[in-house]
Amino acid sequence: MTTTPATGTPGAGAPAIETRDLHKRFGSTRALDGLDLTVAEGEVAGFLGPNGAGKSTAIRVLLGLLSPTSGSARLLGGDPWTDAVALHRRLAYVPGDVTLWPNLTGGEAIDFLTRLRGTPDARRKRELLEAFELDPTKKAGTYSKGNRQKVALVAAFATEVPLLILDEPTSGLDPLMEAVFTERVREAAANGTSVLLSSHILSEVEKVCDTVTIIRSGRAVESGTLDELRHLTRSSVTAVVEGDPTSVARLDGVHDLVTADDPEGTRLTFDVDNAAMGATLTELSRLGVHSFSAAPPSLEELFLRHYGDDVSDDGTPAGDGRPGGRHAAEASGAGAR
């Protein structure tokens, strides 16, 4: 049995997860429509998308619960459907909506699940119960959603495995517990565990992930490291200049320019493609800059670009607890046109 992560696994060096052109159809619905997803060994990969984008379907294919309609999926060098049992010895999974056996206590459920995987470590279980502040003596039927989630998290972190698959694992957790969760994921990653973390909460992914794949309508629309993705995006700039700013609006790569009078001259707010940043700076300094600020894009912005409508309908990423400066800028920009 393999309990040491990332060693002695067949196909070591191969990606922990790799899907190519993965399709899954339910009747006429295409839940997955050519998904490419790669999680390198030892990497913490974010899997972002709005509800219904196909995140859970992809994960269930990876777990061998669903068989793909076409395309390939590899997990730790094995086939998720035919090698399910062998593969599951080396991974732990936390679903987004945990249901438990109502007549078992939380502690019993944790023991049962960890024993299925191997020999549980009682000390580790105690330590995790304490960290997540979970009372294991209550019947699972009386647990809140957050507490059911904790049961699954404790069971998943209780054994050391080479791969963690987490499907929106923090839904129902309060911010304090989210912090505990983040810490545990970092710890696992430091030990060489590969992690696939699906979420529609950007800050969660930003905190722990090395790479991000964004999925929409069953296919990956972007993927790369956080830095790579930021290259694709625009920075938001606020500047006060003395001269006539119309020349800035004419520059390629400048979007949504809004001007306003300012005691010092003219206040400009706009978005600029990072590729056009140099030219923009040149032009601004020619106009005489009084003040200047540029903010790097947050993942929220990646989201807004990809699913502008979905997100505002759903409201989840916007309700992430951050000041909505960027949204306001976008909104006012749109309004100004």
Partner: protein, 554 residues
């Protein structure tokens, strides 16, 4: 805030027009909408039960001799426990028998319905957190409970009226007496619903509330039986049981309405108590804190089999206890029933077709019929338990297990094995309980060995039911309920097959037709092999299908 403070008196303007009952009307409509199928099925089943019971009594016990034979049974201790206080035994017509024997069982069914309905719409809603959404809206604190009770009373009233109509239509019984019986039973059942409402305030867990309420019913059952055992027509003790309040209306004998008032009074008292308790507790809390359970699982809980056993053992225990007592009591009735059947057959050719005409075989045929009933109950248990994997799967619990190193075969195998073993145990308990009851009253025409033969000859037929559910589950999990159709068919063929002129294959479709008739049938190794073969093929088919298909996930 500041605007509110600015009133002259210095008091804040309190929101007006709200009471603890606000929103009840909307919730009533919501319950009816949500439960329309559930309520319809309960109502339909109850009315069908009334109609069937009336029809059976009316046709089988058509003349006075037969009726008095039945009355003689109802005078025995077992007859009193399973029947009623014994009003009108000297002139035991269909209506009298309905009221004397039927009420206990009708109230049992309706009480279970009441308890489940009340817990489902009050405590269970709080437990799942759904009612948090509802209560956050413009809805008073007591509104969900009152809505649940209102819908319960409406449902019970509809069932009572329709059932009375069924009795009148099928058995041509007196309208007022029929109505008295059904309304009295419904009121008695509503009392148990109110008990559940109180239990919901006391216990934080819905399951505990259901358990406590059914325990109260159990106590009421025992009190009524013990009270009625003391003297015909019931003693003072009987009156402590809500079941007696329906029986003491003496429908079809010497009707009086006032005992129904006891149910109404009890209902009001219980509702007041529940309301007082409800005001004292927090949302989601109970007066009795849930007992803390084990922090660590027993060492034995380490496999899908152990989990399946843990999930099914409660149902198995209660089925064994309930059915075991039922068949034991039935066994003790054998001597009386044997002689009664003899009289019946002599006068009713239809019954002769069911039991045969040979006097010596008659009693044997009757025991065999009881065994058939017992086996049908076991088949029902098999169908219910074999559908457990489906509940595990659709709830998402199977998904968690399957993310661990557990194969589809191992998981389904564990579930089916526990269901199968449970069915076998229940069959053995039922059959040997009948034997024990019979032996206890000196009826020893059939030996222990004869009963043992019955157990293992019926086993493969029950396995076919299990196999059918597994096969359906493996390929079309939506249709596992079809196994109930086979069970219904088996029942009809087993009970009435002889009355119709059916082709041979129609009999052979029933798994029980391949089982030699208990105590008399010719044993055929070929038939047994066919049954085992069918069960195994169906089971294997199901496993193959389950390995191939997608898991149904939320």
């Amino acid at each position: 805030m500041s605007a509110a403070v600015a009133t002259p008196s210095g008091t804040r303007a309190a929101p007006r027009g709200g009471s603890t009952l606000t929103g009840t009307g909307a919730l009533v409509r919501f319950v009816l909408r949500r439960d329309r199928v559930r309520l319809a099925v309960w109502a339909g089943s109850m009315v069908a039960f009334y109609a069937y019971f009336t029809f059976a009594l009316d046709t089988v016990f058509a003349d006075e001799a037969a009726q008095q034979g039945r009355a003689a049974i109802m005078e025995t201790p077992s007859g009193i426990v399973m029947g009623g206080p014994g009003y009108g035994l000297d002139h035991y017509t269909t209506g009298v028998a309905m009221a004397n024997e039927g009420i206990t069982w009708v109230v049992l069914a309706l009480a279970i319905f009441s308890v489940l309905h009340m817990v489902r719409h009050t405590r269970a809603e709080e437990e799942t957190g759904r009612s948090e959404l509802v209560r956050a809206a413009v809805v008073g604190r007591h509104a969900p409970a009152v809505a649940a009770l209102t819908t319960l009373v409406v449902a019970q009233a509809v069932i009572a009226v329709l059932s009375a109509f069924a009795m009148v239509a099928v058995g041509d019984l007196a309208v007022v007496d029929s109505l008295a019986m059904t309304v009295g039973s419904a009121l008695s059942a509503v009392v148990f619903g109110a008990v559940a409402l109180v239990a919901c305030q006391v216990f934080a867990a819905g399951r505990a509330a259901v358990g406590a309420s059914l325990a109260v019913f159990g106590a009421a059952f025992v009190v009524r039986a013990a009270g009625d055992m003391r003297e015909t027509g019931g003693s003072a003790l009987s009156w402590f049981s809500p079941i007696a309040w329906a029986q003491q209306m003496r429908a079809f004998v010497d009707l009086r309405w006032w005992p129904a008032l006891l149910s109404v009074v009890a209902l009001v008292v219980l509702v007041v108590v529940a309301s007082a308790l409800a005001s004292r507790r927090d949302f989601g809390g109970g007066l009795v804190a849930g007992r803390p359970g084990r922090a660590d699982a027993r060492a034995s809980l380490r496999s899908p089999f152990a989990l399946a056993w843990l999930q099914q053992r409660g149902a198995l225990l209660w089925s064994c206890l309930g059915l075991g007592l039922l068949w034991f009591a039935s066994g003790t009735l054998l001597p009386e029933v044997g002689s009664m059947i003899g009289d019946l057959v002599a006068e009713n050719p239809a019954i002769a077709q069911v039991f045969g005409t040979d006097g010596t075989e008659l009693s044997v045929a009757f025991v065999a019929l009881m065994i058939l009933y017992a086996a049908l109950c076991c088949a029902g248990y098999a169908v219910v338990m074999a559908q457990r994997p489906k509940a595990e799967e659709t709830s998402g619990r199977a998904e968690v297990v399957f993310s661990h190193p557990v194969s589809r075969y191992r998981w389904l195998g564990a579930q089916v094995l526990v269901a199968g073993l449970g069915t076998a145990v229940l069959l053995a308990v039922s059959v040997y309980a009948t034997w024990l009851g019979a032996v206890a009253v000196g009826w020893d025409d059939q030996t222990f060995g004869d009963y043992t033969t019955v157990v293992w000859t019926y086993l493969p037929a029950l396995a076919v039911f299990l196999g059918l559910v597994v096969a359906l589950y493996g390929w079309v999990p939506r249709l596992t309920g079809l196994a109930w159709a086979l069970l219904a068919y088996t029942f009809v063929i087993g009970m009435f097959g002889g009355l119709f002129d059916l082709p041979d294959w129609a009999f052979r479709l029933s798994p029980f037709d391949w089982v030699p008739a208990a105590f008399s049938g010719e044993f055929s190794a070929g038939d047994v092999a066919v049954l085992w073969g069918a069960a195994v093929v169906l089971g294997v088919l199901g496993f193959v299908g389950f390995r191939r298909r997608d898991l149904v996930t939320g």
